[in-house]
């Protein structure tokens, strides 16, 4: 478990990091918390010549209030995110999913930006980011641009971040007063989810006024279950009504088959877990 030799660069600012990226191009890999990249390097599945470590850039850490959104620095650890009061109040779904992510050691090392940029479709944060319509602030030498969650995840381990760009912030529109639940299905606790469902629901007078549902590990990217969301609006938060909407959870998905389960089993799970997630989020 020894990586191939690489040059290690530790920029102190985003600007320095961008300069290093521009210099080394596709020979470089960016390391955030390292919880996915280090195993990849140690198993020699990737052999970059340069590793650029964002760990020493203070401006990339922290959670702040920005009017109708909260802004989370890309290098903020999972542990910080899931314990942050702003997140708890305005983006509870992220905290719910963060609690379920891997184990305590990884939550203290891993970062929200690193996990989202890695874009593992089984990662726990993609579906909540989709469900909360997060905005991804991507910074390059020409400045920053903002990409909506729907356009951020491109394919397996592939995002909208360009080769010479960095993910610097995640802006999450406030979902104050929304109910939230992350329903994760695993065989052992530290495992990636076989399937998971992220649900955020606004209930008014016993009726579902708005609903957002994201799916983990049901395709090559995290997915949003729009037909479920649409079917839920205006429905009572009852088992029968939610089950009827949840039956559409697998529409448009393309789940994998692997040693944790075949595609048809995942399809079934998505429906069951969606019902459970929505009901829990609705407090029913």
């Amino acid at each position: 478990m020894i990586p191939t030799q690489f040059e290690y660069v530790a920029p102190a600012t985003v600007q320095e990091a961008l300069t290093a990226l521009a210099e080394h191009g596709d020979e470089a890999k960016v390391i955030a918390g390292g919880q996915s990249l280090l195993p990849v390097l140690r198993m020699r599945l990737n052999a970059p010549e340069v590793v650029i470590d964002l760990g020493g850039i203070p401006e990339l850490r922290g959670v702040r209030d920005d009017g109708d959104a909260i802004v989370i620095g890309a290098m903020t650890t999972h542990h910080t995110v899931l314990n942050d009061p702003l997140v708890a109040e305005h983006a509870a779904l992220l905290a719910r999913a963060g609690h379920e992510l891997a184990d305590a050691q990884i939550r203290h090392r891993g970062t929200i930006g690193g996990a989202l940029a890695h874009a593992d479709p089984a990662g726990d944060l993609g579906a909540p980011a989709l469900a909360l319509s997060a905005q991804f602030v991507i910074t390059g030498s020409a400045g920053s641009r903002t990409v909506p969650a729907d356009e951020f995840f491109v394919d397996l381990f592939e995002t909208a971040i360009g080769e010479d760009e960095l993910l610097t912030e995640i802006r999450v529109p406030k979902h104050t007063g929304w109910g939230a639940h992350y329903e994760k299905f695993v065989r052992v606790a530290h495992q990636w989810p076989i399937v998971a469902v992220a649900a955020a629901v606004r209930v008014a007078g016993g009726t579902i006024a708005e609903a957002r549902v994201g799916l983990t590990n049901m395709g090559s990217t995290p997915l949003r279950a729009r037909s479920v969301e649409e079917a839920l609006v205006g429905q009572p938060a009852t088992e029968d009504a939610v089950a009827q909407a949840a039956a559409r959870a697998a529409e448009g998905t393309n789940p994998p088959s692997d040693l944790n389960g075949a595609a048809d089993y995942r399809t079934h799970l998505a429906q069951v877990l969606t019902r459970r997630a929505v009901l829990a989020a609705a407090g029913a």
């Binding site: 020894i2 599945l45 593992d120 299905f185 065989r187 040693l259 089993y265």
Partner: protein, 829 residues
């Protein structure tokens, strides 16, 4: 109450039975100790293995030129380069005289037989340089069809070793009628087909990986008169013998040291190709060398365990009284016959009848070669397979008769008045009380209440159903009486050796031929010696794991260290006392016959005169005033050969909740009442039981070594080979019911494997019990949510048989570069 240990009220308090904190834990838990991988010698070189990505292929050519010229590389060697000097790995247990076994050279020169087999070794000045250069070795393979599926391999559809002409290695049979220990099983089954009950089942023991904490590591220093090997092994003594036998180097020229070793579970009961290669390279270069495997290499190339199909036929009378049991096993050896090899399923041959009074019994086992990683001992070795089969069958019989699973067991088990009891497999069980253990377990478990809840949930059609699983297990451990091993054609004895060295200052050094790798021998053996010799617990030092220091031994496996090694220790200590008596008598001017030894003091009967053990030790050391003809030493040794195996037993009860919607399973309660005889240290025992339970539960629910169609191990990392953590297990309800063993002085029975052997069927029985009313009578292990769900939805088909041969994508080639030395990607490369 503080965490400080309770001190005994009086000096005479016994050490045996105290929950002494473990002497070895400070260094083991902090890691501040000597493992193999942190041994560094002057001028030491490092090895990296080049491994085959193919399960079966002809080696066309190996080009080592680029690797040889890489930075800091000293040598690159192939099997051809080493020639006969690389030696062979031995099989110590040819289960039949006709057994077919391919020659197992550490690095084959012409053909690889499993994915992960080593074909070349790089020697460099650093481990990193060795690994870098290993990627530069260019091996051309001509892929051959691989024998992968066990049943197809047993039918010789594809040959794992074409030159052998068959995959069938050996066929081993025990028949109670032929042995004179019981009746004719075929007649019993035939009769039951007419007027009784016949239960026919086929169970799968999936392939498992021992997954010890410390990966295997070996250092060899060839620069002394003896070649010294430090290695992460359970068996330094057996390994020394095997190294000599396999390499031709005289045994007296080899010293093997097992320093602190991080677990084994049977996985380090082996003479490995890597050890042989490291040994050969050190000798070739005349320099110390070290090899430490990666976790991926460990999972891929360290021996695996279990992997059997079990065809079972049980016959009974209509009321559930058992009349016969026929076992037909097909066991996967993998690519080579390992050191115990086919002996592992044979160790189960005497245990399928378990605690039940079967009048007729037959065991058949066909061992089969395939192009997968070789298999050998894994915690329980043969006995978990047997216990699983019989305890699953007894639940099936209960369902057929329509009674509670405990009722069917009680009808058939040996009652406590019947001990000693000779079984249909020819073993004599010395002690036990199945009724008492079961009563105690039922009460603690809340059996009746949980049965009532189960009924309520069934009647209400709850989404969550409850199942209760029973396992009233026994096992044979304490390997082993040498005569029995001889009759089974095993290549060694089963005795154990111990030595006691009385130092001048009254301190004691103990040598033991057992070789701890986490068990707590240093603590438990100190307690035994403290009581036996009347010395302080702190004054006893346990020396082990070095063939120069503890020169004689049979090492640690098969729950033998206490029941065999402990008895050797007791006998050596008793010899010390006998040697001390004439010296005490001389110094006290009394007759030897009047000397009484008690609590560390040699007293003269009827007087208050006496001398402490330490005083006699000093007298023996100075030797100024010894009786004529008495040797100036108290040091003693003993070699103990057990006359019988040792039979722990227990009643394990498990409650599982099954989510009928997702197939997810959740453990609700686990109670066990084990009879492991006299307990030396309750805390160590509890640790052994907890760990054993977790490992057995893990076979039932989580672990499985999965290969794809090209013979690549897809569960090749801990991402895909699922091990539980504390987050996945519950607080176990652990109790004991003690009947002392009558076959050793201390009355002890083995505990190292008990939890693993007992728990697997308890869990699966509970899962099946939860959904039996839906028409299900089996779910193949591991009982994954998907299998449970499919069983429910396919109405009793047993869940999908084969696990998808594809890894999750977290760490695959889509993340970047592919092709490495410690992971294989088979035909996809």
């Amino acid at each position: 109450m503080t965490a400080v240990e309770d001190r005994p009220d009086t000096e005479s308090a016994k050490e045996i039975g105290r929950d002494r904190r473990r002497k070895e834990d400070q260094r083991l838990i902090t890691g501040r100790t000597r493992w193999t991988d942190n041994i560094a010698l002057p001028g030491m070189l490092h090895l990296a293995m080049v491994r085959s990505p193919f399960a079966h292929a002809r080696i066309v050519s190996i080009d080592t030129e680029a690797a040889k010229t890489a930075d800091n590389v000293v040598a690159v060697l192939t099997g051809a380069d080493l020639g006969d000097a690389q030696g062979v790995c031995i099989n110590a247990w040819a289960i039949t005289t006709e057994q077919l076994a391919p020659t197992h050279v550490p690095m084959p020169t012409d053909r690889v037989a499993f994915a992960g087999e080593t074909v070349a070794v790089v020697v460099a000045r650093s481990a990193a340089a060795a690994r870098d250069a290993a990627e530069l070795v260019d091996v051309e393979y001509d892929e051959l069809p691989a024998a992968l599926d066990l049943k197809k391999s047993a039918a010789d559809e594809v040959l794992a070793h074409p030159d052998l002409g068959t995959n069938k290695s050996a066929f081993w049979k025990f028949d109670s009628e032929e042995a004179g220990t019981g009746g004719n099983v075929d007649q019993a089954i035939e009769k039951a087909r007419g007027d009784g009950i016949v239960i026919e089942r086929e169970y799968r023991q999936q392939r498992l990986i021992p997954a010890f904490m410390e990966p295997r590591s070996t250092v060899v220093d060839p620069t002394g008169e003896q070649i010294t090997m430090w290695t992460a092994t359970q068996i330094p003594h057996v390994l020394r013998f095997a190294l000599a036998a396999g390499s031709g180097v005289p045994e007296s020229k080899i010293r093997v040291i097992a320093p602190d070793v991080g677990g084994g579970f049977g996985g380090k009961l082996q003479q490995t190709p890597e050890e042989m290669i490291t040994f050969a390279v050190a000798r070739r270069l005349g320099k110390p060398v070290r090899y430490t495997e990666t976790r991926s290499e460990s999972l891929m190339a360290g021996h695996h365990g279990r992997d059997q199909w079990q065809k079972l036929t049980l016959s009974a009378e209509k009321d559930g009284t058992v009349t016969g049991l026929k076992v037909e096993l097909t066991a996967d050896l993998g690519a080579y016959v390992a050191i115990l090899g086919g002996g592992v399923p044979v160790l189960g041959a005497f245990m399928f009848n378990a605690i039940y009074k079967f009048p007729a019994y037959q065991f058949n086992c066909q061992t089969v070669l395939t192009n997968k990683t070789w298999t050998d001992a894994y915690r329980g070795a043969g006995r978990p397979e047997a216990t699983y089969a019989i305890e699953r069958l007894m639940d099936e019989l209960a369902a057929e008769v329509g009674v509670d699973p405990l009722v069917i067991r009680e009808k058939n088990w040996i009652t406590h008045e019947e001990f000693p009891f000779t079984t249909v497999a020819g073993l004599e069980y010395d002690s036990g009380n199945y009724e008492a253990a079961t009563e105690k377990a039922k009460a603690s478990f809340g059996y009746d209440e949980l049965r009532a809840e189960q009924r309520r949930r069934r009647e209400a059609g709850d989404r969550i159903q409850l199942g209760i699983g029973v396992s009233t297990f026994t096992e044979m451990c304490g390997l082993a009486p040498s005569r029995v091993l001889g009759s089974l054609n095993y290549g060694a004895g089963g005795w154990e050796h111990a030595g006691v060295r009385m130092l001048a200052t009254g301190k004691v050094e103990i040598t033991t031929g057992t070789s701890a790798h986490g068990q707590g021998h240093e603590t438990a053996f100190s307690q035994i010696v403290a009581d036996r010799l009347g010395v302080a617990f702190e004054d006893v030092e346990i020396l082990h794991g070095d063939t120069q220091i503890a020169h004689k031994g049979m090492d640690t496996y098969g729950s033998r260290s206490l029941v065999v090694g402990g008895e050797a220790l007791v006998r050596a200590a008793d010899k010390v006392i006998e040697k001390a008596k004439p010296i005490a008598a001389h110094l006290l001017e009394a007759s030897v016959d009047d000397i009484e030894f008690s609590a560390g003091r040699f007293g003269v009967r009827g007087t208050d005169q006496g001398l402490a053990m330490a005083e006699i030790a000093m007298a023996a050391f100075t030797a100024h005033n010894l009786p004529d003809g008495v040797e100036a030493t108290l040091d003693s040794e003993a070699t103990y050969d057990p006359v019988n195996f040792n039979y722990p037993h227990g009643t394990h009860l498990c409650a599982m909740e099954v989510d009928t919607e997702t197939g997810g399973v959740l453990m609700r309660k686990y109670t066990c009442v084990d009879d492991i005889g006299t307990i030396i240290n309750p805390m160590i025992v509890e640790g052994q039981v907890h760990g054993g339970l977790a490992q057995g539960i893990s076979q039932a629910l989580w672990e499985e070594a999965v290969y794809d169609d090209s013979g690549t191990l897809v569960s090749g990392s801990f991402v895909d080979y699922l091990l539980p953590t504390t987050a996945d297990t519950i607080s176990f309800d652990v109790h004991h019911n003690t009947t002392a063993s009558t076959t050793n002085t201390l009355g002890t029975k083995g505990v190292g494997e008990a939890g693993t052997i007992a728990s697997t069927p308890a869990v699966v029985n509970a899962v099946v019990d939860a959904v039996r009313h839906l028409g299900i009578h089996d779910i193949q292990m591991p009982c994954t949510p998907e299998r449970v769900w499919r069983a429910i939805h396919d109405a009793g088909a047993g869940g999908r048989a084969e696990t998808e041969g594809a890894a999750a994508p977290h760490f695959d080639e889509s993340t970047g570069m592919q092709g490495t030395v410690d992971r294989t990607d088979g035909a996809q490369s």
